[in-house]
Symmetry: C2
Subunit: 423 residues, 2 copies
């Protein structure tokens, strides 16, 4: 389903591979890091599916997610990966229903107005997501909506159209309890950027009609294989990135399909925020993630990879089967006969040939390179990919000797912000 | 209108500043680099405005730009910067009409279908943009459209709905001449990523109702000031980036408004592709651009800036006036009283306070930092900003001792692609 090939020379010793597996197994069993156990939570899938059925979403046109960072990026990534492809069963219906997925993230007032222009209380479900409830962007959006729809927290309409996802016993949870809102809890030991397989991702994705059981199934496939010590390539790759973090501080993810646009953004948060840390040795360490999309970014970023400083690694992602037979017709444009070599091929063939050609041209420059090939984009393969990058992040964090799961560097700004208003 | 402040220590000598001005003036007068003279081309503005009037675009719902890289990024950037804000005259009408701006860039077949779902020949104008005409993505899209709409090149409908922008005498130009299409020419000495002030950007932006004369006017404002040697800060900044390219290989543009999403992408191409080169000294040099948006990316990338390696510079962009008075209502969410400090403020105030707070927290880390403040987003200020980054790129290229205007590194991939199909 998914194949990984590395074109760089790993210098890891066998015992180091074993140590890395052991460190991850220990972390998974220790209980402080909860994301490892999410793929098996079949009971959660059942509960969310039952909730969506019972909620009767027939007349709902908009699923509005009020959340930022880890509360929005994963859902956006998965919806984009899957929304354009048709179902496996050849019936050619889409995987997803026609509801709009809207995010209230940024507090840019012009964007807020643009996003809400077709949103009414009656045609929408609002999902408020915040671990603590204290996220200023999220609470400000909620307050704005309450005023816009002339609601009070006691109204039945508020209960009918707002759902909360938060940590158990958080202030937001207490609020939801007081006013009888539907609540889903986040496990306390799962951080925002690792929360896609909690209700944070599963609830909106289920409302859109995706098979969330399959999503977890894909993650579980990889988990089983990894915990059976069958994924040495992942360990080698994380080791290579971490040990070369000074020489190659930049990791480029070059995905050959527009479907990866938001997956790239999800990866940027996961990789950047998890690994950019003061290490246990007191050093400023980290790896800078960059996500680009082919073939478009052959026309923007490729030149820098090919001729710029040798400070980058590149991972290419290729999708074998776009489930779309659209062809470049056998038409000759007079004076442009030299473009005819592609006539009669599918666009699928063209974009993959571009991926191969670009990869060859990067390889020729002796840039550290690897390739991930996905057979087709389905809930199962996407679940696998997401968990692949989560595990890879944990491994890289182990080798960099950092706490992969906190984000102390962003707290100061929040304190300064509050002071600005209080003084 | 636009203010720039630097919080790093420049070590440039006065004579080096003078030399840099002289090098740019020489380049501008030499004739090989044409973008410098675009802001004065008032005749082009008149011609494009006349064309749009004559074309009678009343029934046109979609402006479809068929182009990639430099042929699409600038137009997308400017439309996004201006589409959400209202006009200066307080009439609160938008700057732009309601036509959709659609790009056929990538050859991802699922994206092509998604993009075209509401596009018919009758309700759309198609602008084919390619310097040579040989861009495989662009010709493939044209062939696909011709088949989809059952057109032949001789049809009047083809002439009515397709416009071409290309180099004079290019194969695409010859094609357009043969079939009597409307054509606008690109100056031969203006490369794709510097082409936004040619018909590449001006034609679609004019069709959308923007004041393209004002856009050029803003660019001209900066040009006059720069050519009067009044922009030493720009020279110092470019010098600082270039001379510290090994210590700080990554330049982050942190824009505090969702309006900058595509401006960031335009900047990434301009900076990455212009500066990532084998220098005249035979070295692989370059600077890696990263564009992020606040406050969203406080929740994804900020941690890496604050605690990660000191390999980055940061430029923050702040918009004083969003022309939008949307407020955070004075509502208390029980249990979340600690978020009340923001109640009664506008979202405009909140996002700018977040920008200031984040800037302070970055400054405390002694990361090299500068701030660009824009009073409001108008055609004029946007034209200024675009030209600011073009000039800054030319200056950085001068200090890095590279050819800023070519892109030899991307040619090999195109050759390999063709071979893949011919063998």
């Amino acid at each position: 389903m998914i194949k990984s090939e590395e074109f760089f020379k790993s210098e890891i010793e066998d015992f180091e591979i074993g140590d890395a597996y052991n460190a991850i197994f220990e972390e998974a069993e220790g209980g402080d890091v909860g994301y490892y156990s999410l793929p098996e939570d079949k009971e959660l899938v059942t509960r969310i599916e039952a909730f969506c059925l019972e909620k009767d979403l027939g007349s709902v046109e908009n699923i509005v997610v009020i959340g930022i960072g880890g509360s929005s990026l994963g859902t956006k990534a998965i919806d984009r990966l899957l929304s354009l492809t048709s179902k496996r069963d050849e019936s050619k219906t889409r995987r997803r229903n026609d509801k709009n997925l809207i995010f209230m993230e940024n507090v840019d007032p012009n964007e807020i107005e643009e996003n809400l222009k077709d949103v009414t209380l009656q045609n929408s479900i609002f999902i408020i997501i915040s671990k603590s409830g204290g996220t200023i962007e999220t609470t400000s959006s909620v307050k704005y909506l309450v005023e816009r729809f002339e609601l009070s927290f006691e109204d039945e309409a508020f209960r009918d159209h707002f759902v909360v996802i938060t940590d158990p016993s958080s202030p937001l949870d207490q609020f939801a309890t007081d006013f009888n809102l539907s609540v889903f809890h986040l496990p306390l030991n799962v951080g925002g950027r690792f929360s896609i397989f909690t209700p944070v991702g599963l609830l909106p994705l289920c409302m859109l009609g995706y098979d969330i059981g399959d999503l977890l199934g894909g993650a579980e496939d990889l988990k089983k294989s990894f915990f059976a010590r069958k994924e040495d390539d992942m360990v080698k790759k994380a080791h290579f990135y971490a040990k070369n973090s000074t020489q190659h501080p930049i990791n480029v993810l070059f995905s050959y399909s527009s479907a990866f646009k938001y997956f790239n953004e999800w990866f940027v948060q996961l990789w950047g925020e998890s690994l950019g840390k003061i290490s246990r040795d007191g050093e400023n360490v980290g790896l800078t993630p960059i996500g680009i999309v082919g073939s478009v970014d052959q026309h923007s970023f490729l030149q820098l990879i090919i001729e710029g400083p040798r400070d980058k690694t590149v991972t290419m992602i290729k999708v074998n089967n776009f489930e779309n037979g659209l062809k470049i017709p056998d038409i000759t444009i007079p004076h442009l006969e030299k473009t005819n070599f592609i006539n009669g091929s599918t666009f699928n063939t063209l974009i993959n040939a571009q991926c191969d050609a670009t990869m060859q041209s990067i390889k020729d420059q002796e840039v550290s390179l690897d390739l991930i090939t996905i057979d087709r984009l389905t809930e199962r393969s996407v679940g696998y990919m997401i968990f692949y990058y989560e595990l890879l992040t944990s491994l890289a964090g182990y080798f960099l000797n950092v706490n992969t799961y906190n984000q102390p560097g962003v707290e100061l700004g929040k304190v300064i912000l509050k002071e600005k208003f209080e003084n």
